[in-house]
């Protein structure tokens, strides 16, 4: 029965990863599609490929943070991981229904913390791990914004004397291929690793892996396949909204925004820090837009990110906590 439960929870975790790819693909390819560098179908295939190969470039430090850095691994059980996922998925669905902004990454962290508190109390939470995640929830979009702005200013400064604008735009269109690939690589590295961390926690809890074990290769491949397939299977439907949601981007702006977000994600992924890829690219796009004037940016979208900072972790934590209490009462 326990093996069945483990397989079922792994299935739920991979489904969560699939929906992450489905939603966040738009972030990686929105500007490439909006500027007509690639058709939507080719763009999602491009993003999915780089999502998948991210595991070759980056290690699994983010997965280790999720599995061992949020709560004391000794309290993890199949029930804790299940209710943690339930909290994350429940919060995502609730905010989708209410139209509130959210981040599935933060929801996952809140869910795991809530489930562990429900099982064994507040002392099970690793304060330092949560603090690191909390600080970078705020910092990652702000780094993205500053880098987006600085990259745009640098491009403007380097190319401001160029008279052949058409030829220059053609160059930036090629540049967008590279920058969107870099962003997809960062997205695959950070987001797929969150699911890997959940599955690793589950394997440790069910004694299928030692507490000191790294992420098994099949988990790495399964998580990257799930996020890649999610990207491939329909993210392009919401691309158009994302491409012009925050500010109107030209090819040069697209290159700057994606490069800024990619640099931020490369840094955080290599240091084992889970961050929201959506918030990071939103910050970078706001940075690019704010080189023009204040009114070029839809600040309402930016303020939604701030609400997501405040609400997501506590919201998912409460749902997972209640779920864990119900599970304990039933068993």
């Amino acid at each position: 029965l326990e093996t069945f439960a483990v397989v079922a929870v792994i299935g739920i975790a991979l489904a969560f990863d699939f929906t992450n790819g489905f939603h966040d693909a738009a972030n990686a390819i929105a500007t490439v599609v909006a500027t007509r560098v690639l058709s939507p179908r080719v763009a999602v295939a491009w993003a999915a490929m780089f999502n998948f190969i991210a595991f070759v470039v980056f290690g699994t430090t983010v997965a280790a943070t999720i599995a061992k850095g949020v709560v004391d691994p000794a309290v993890l059980s199949v029930g804790v991981v299940f209710t943690g996922l339930l909290g994350a998925i429940g919060w995502t669905l609730l905010t989708f229904y209410l139209g509130l902004p959210t981040s599935s990454s933060h929801a996952l962290v809140g869910g795991i913390a809530g489930a562990a508190i429900g099982r064994a109390g507040l002392h099970t939470v690793q304060r330092s791990g949560l603090q690191k995640i909390g600080v970078f929830i705020v910092l990652s979009p702000m780094i993205g914004l500053a880098l987006g702005l600085l990259f745009t200013l640098t491009l403007m400064w380097v190319f401001h004397r160029v008279r052949h604008v058409e030829r220059l735009n053609r160059g930036f269109r090629v540049g967008q291929l590279l920058s969107s690939a870099a962003f997809s690589l960062g997205h695959g590295a950070n987001d797929a690793q969150k699911t890997m961390g959940i599955i690793l926690a589950l394997l440790i809890a069910s004694k299928h892996a030692a507490p000191t074990a790294g992420v098994p290769l099949w988990v790495v491949l399964a998580a990257h396949t799930a996020i890649g397939l999610g990207t491939l299977s329909g993210g392009w439907r919401i691309v158009k909204t994302m491409g012009s949601k925050i500010t109107r981007l030209q090819p040069a702006g697209g290159v700057a925004a994606e490069s800024a977000a990619a640099v931020t994600l490369f840094f955080t992924s290599s240091r084992g820090i889970p961050v929201s890829t959506t918030h990071t690219i939103t910050g970078a796009i706001v940075g690019v837009g704010s080189t023009q004037r204040v009114s070029a940016v839809r600040w309402g979208v930016a303020s939604q990110v701030v609400w997501a900072w405040v609400l997501t972790i506590p919201g998912a934590l409460v749902i997972a906590y209640v779920g864990q209490l119900v599970l304990r009462a039933l068993s």
Binding site: A64, T65, K68, S128, V135, L150, T212
Partner: protein
């Protein structure tokens, strides 16, 4: 009138400064251990550098908007015209 972006960048810089005291982390505890001080991971330089970047951006935008503003002589010429 100061460009509104200057205020936005200054608020971002302040937010980064507020994060500096919280940017020293302990490495995750090993399985079964209580979460207490292990090897420290110092990330203070990240909010410090980001705050510095925002201050520089605020100064650049302020200087740019001051340079674009017509001087008092230009304004009086415009008024007379």
């Amino acid at each position: 009138v100061i460009d509104r972006r200057v205020w936005i960048f200054l608020i971002c810089a302040l937010a980064c400064v507020a994060l500096i005291p919280f940017s020293n982390f302990d490495k995750p505890a090993k399985p079964g251990e209580k979460a207490k001080a292990h090897k420290s991971q110092n990330y203070r330089w990240v909010p410090e550098a980001t705050a510095g970047a925002y201050l520089a951006l605020a100064a650049m935008v302020a200087a740019d908007s001051a340079a674009r503003r017509p001087s008092s002589r230009e304004r009086s010429v415009q008024n007379r015209a």
